[in-house]
Structures are given as C-alpha cells and as structure tokens.
Amino acid sequence: MVIIRSTKIVLISFVLIVVLFFIPMIPAIGKAMENFNPLTLALYWVSLTVISIILGLATLRGVER
C-alpha cells in the first residue's frame, strides 16, 4: 500500500502554483512586473518552480511502501 501524507493539501498547493504561473497574463500585473525590473518575470517563474521542486521532494519523503 502506498501512502502519501497530506495528499489533498499537496495537490491543492500544486494546482495553486500552476495557476500562479498564469498570473503575469493579466495585463496590469504583467506590465507592473516589466516596469519593476527586467528580470522580475523570469525570477518570478523560477521561484515558483523552485517552490514546486521543494514541495515535490518534501512530499516524496512521505511516500512509503
């Protein structure tokens, strides 16, 4: 039997992360990011990916068989 601790929370977190990737599509937010610094958008997406990797690896620790 495989057990994943807190599956629902992890699943919701991943859905949220994926949704956050699309936030810069909103013109006002996209424009604000552009104006703040040229690297803001890239760093935003990189940060989300790093969070997803950390969350994924933490979740995998809870996988037992």
Binding site: V2, P24, M25, P38, S52, L55, G56, T59, E64
Partner: protein, 492 residues
Amino acid sequence: MIYIFLAILTLYFVGGTLIALLSRKFVKGGFEDFVVGGYRVGGFLSAMTYAATTYSAFMMVGLVGLTYATGVAALGFELVYLASTIGILTTIGPTIWVRAREKRWVTPSQMIGELYSSKTLASSIAILYLVALTPYLAAQLKGIGEIFTAIGLSYEVGVVVAIIATFIWIAIAGLWSVATTDAFQGLWMISASVGVTIWILAYLLPSAGIDLEKTLNILVNARTLDNRVVNLMGFAWSISMFIGMSLPWIFFALTNPQVVQRIYIPKDAKAYKRMVTYFAIYGFVYTLICVTLGLASRAYIAVAYPEIELNLIKARDSVSPTILCKAHPILSSIAFVSIFAAAVSTANSIALSAASAVTRDLYISYSRNVDEKKAATVTVLATLLMLLVALAIAFGRVTYVVELAVTSSAILIPLAPITVAGIVLEPRRRGLPYAVTSLTLGLAVAVLAIAMFGPAKALTQPLVLELPAPLWSLLASAIPILAMVYMVRKVR
C-alpha cells in the same frame, strides 16, 4: 567542421551501441522485460530515461528559437510544464507506480482499458497514440535533418542516420537498451549545453562588447517583424498563445505514453523517489540553459549581425545552428551531436511506447496463447513500421518543430481527465460511457481546431471567447468525467 562532426557523431554512435549491447546483461526475456524492463530499473537510469525522453531536440532547437523570437515568456511556458510534472509525479504518480506493478500494466492504453474494463477502449487509445505520436516522432527526425543541413550535410542523410540509431537501440534490448542509451545521451545533452552556455557567456558576448546590462537593454528594446519595439523580458505572448502552448504540456506526464510508461519502471520506492528528484534537477537546469541561450543569442545577433536579426525570427529553428556554427568546431560538433542525441532519445522512447501499445492492446489482447518472444518481435516490427511512416513525414518537411511536437500533445489532452478519474475512482464498466464521451468530445474539439487553423496554429489561435482550443478540449473532456465522479460517489 564536417569531418570533426562526423568523427564525434561516430564516437557517439559507437559508444551508444556498446552501451546498448552491454545492457543486454540485464535482460531476462519476454515482452514485459522488453517494454518496461520487468519493473526492475534503478533510480538513476529511470531519471535519465525520463529526462532524455521528455527533453527532445525541441529544447536546443525549438525552445532556443522560440525564446529568441518571443522572449522570456518561453521560460514560463517551459517551467510550468516542469512544475506541473513534479506535481503529477509526487501526487498521483506513486499510486500509478504501485498499481502498475500489482496489475502488471505495461502500456498506458492497457491501464486505461483495465480501469474502465474495456479492451476496445484500450485498443482505441493505442491507435490514438499512433496517430498523435507519429508526427511527434517525425518532428524529432526533422530537427536532426535541419542540424545536418546547417552543418553542410544532407537533410535526408541526417534523417536516415537518426532512424538507424533509433531502431538499433530499441531492437538490441528494448527498454534496457533505450534506458541505458538515454542515460548516456542525457549526460551528453546536459554537458554540451553547459559547455555552450559557458562559451557564450564567457567568450561570445564579451567578444562583441556585450555585458549583462547591455544584454538586458537590447532585450527590453527588441524589434518585432513589423518594426515595433517589444520588451522580450516581459510577457510578450498573447494570452491565447500562452494558454494554448502551456496546457498540453501541463498534462504531458499523464497523457503521453512514453513518459507514463516511465512511471512503471522504477524497481522500488527508493528508485521512484530518485527518479523524480534527479529529473526535477535535470529539467530545471536544462530549461534555464536553453532559455539563456535563446536570450543571449538574440543579444549577440542584434549587435554582431543586425542584418539577420529579424530574418531569424521568421526562421527561428535556425537560431541554434547559426550560433553554434560560430563556436570552435569541436564544441559546436559536440553540441550538434547533443541535439541529435536529444532527438534520438525521445524518438526511441516514443517508438517503443507506441509500438508496445499496438502489441499489447491490438495483438496480445485479441490473441490466444501468445508467445512472449513473439510479442517482443511484433513490437520490433511495429516500431520499424512507425519509424518508416515518420521518415516519410520528415522528408515532407512539415511546419515548425515546436508546433508539431505540441500539436501531438494537444491531441492527447483528452486522456488527462479519464486517466486521473480512472486511477482515483477505478470506475470499471459503469464509467465506460463517460470515458468514451469524454474522449470523443475532447478529440472533436482538437480535430476541429486543427481543421480550422491548421496544425501550426491549432494550439494558439483563439477558438471561442478568445481562448485557445486546448483549453476547450480539456473542458469538453472534463465535463463527462465530472458527471461520472458525481455518479460514482452517489452510488457509493
């Protein structure tokens, strides 16, 4: 340059073939062993074959060109794929892995067929794989052909050499030779891309007097084809394009058989965890490198060769070859071979996966007294047939590599809802009408979009309400499945 490239290509081919031959010591025989390595593959090999299967010639050719032409939005498109794949592999993935071992699943079409208790559904999905993945396979071959052309060799020779490598490395030991050569090729790909990045950042850009500040300045004030100024470090894609390109990749880990099959293969829980961990690191580094190459190439070309800057936007698959030809012949040859490796490592996994689905769900399912060795032979023959069809398409040189690859994923999008619901609920026969409706509706939307806009624009053109076809395809296939979830829960 040509001789150095041919020498390094020969080295790569001989090295890969030796590794494939050595991998035969792992083989115990039989169809299961040929297709999923008997569920005995270690964590490192699983990770490398997952990465090399996923990351194709699209990365060093398509993504670099896409970034060059359209800017940093390509990073978001590629990273959302990685984040969602990690999500899938760490939530639903372990359940798929356990059930695959318990139920002896070898193909994703078999998995879905059993979850809905329907051999016909499994067979239909196997056919769908063939239809969707043959262009994807052809896209890999086309990428290789273009690399050969850039070097001064024949397009057709490149395609044929790729077909030979792909076929031989499958035929030698099935999944074992594919996985071991994938590991070899995956390491080659990442090493070459790191080498090229160091060369561009440490030599090429400084040689043209370009530093980080100037690079950003060029990218922020880039020109478009109609001579407008565009900020390539901002969100320069349309909403429809970003959703249309990203959505198929978000569900890629659930819909494309060559990667779903990789979830079955780790030998134990530790190997599974290693597979996900190493893949995540690999994917992250490789994506950053390819996007950096695209942005750096734009800055360099804009300063050193302004006369071709806009031409390369139109012929964006030529960006990588143009830049690589400026490197030392040894470095550029290693990089060109890495693109060849990326294409072959994806092509052999696709061919083995689709051919095994044909064998399992169109041959074994309907045969009595199936001989295991005969099943493996049928898989090899189906692989050969698929490669020959892809060869014919590649010779036709159809559209961009990116669109071809992503269109294939778009056709497979309707498989995402039925796979997730099938794994979570195991609805059996009572879920079948919903699954069939879901698949039919989702496919109808995808086919409609391809018919209306053509394969090159089917993903990105708004279909209804300014939103692209992949979103509507996903919604159309999700609605019947939501009805099924409601029905199953009500019964329970």
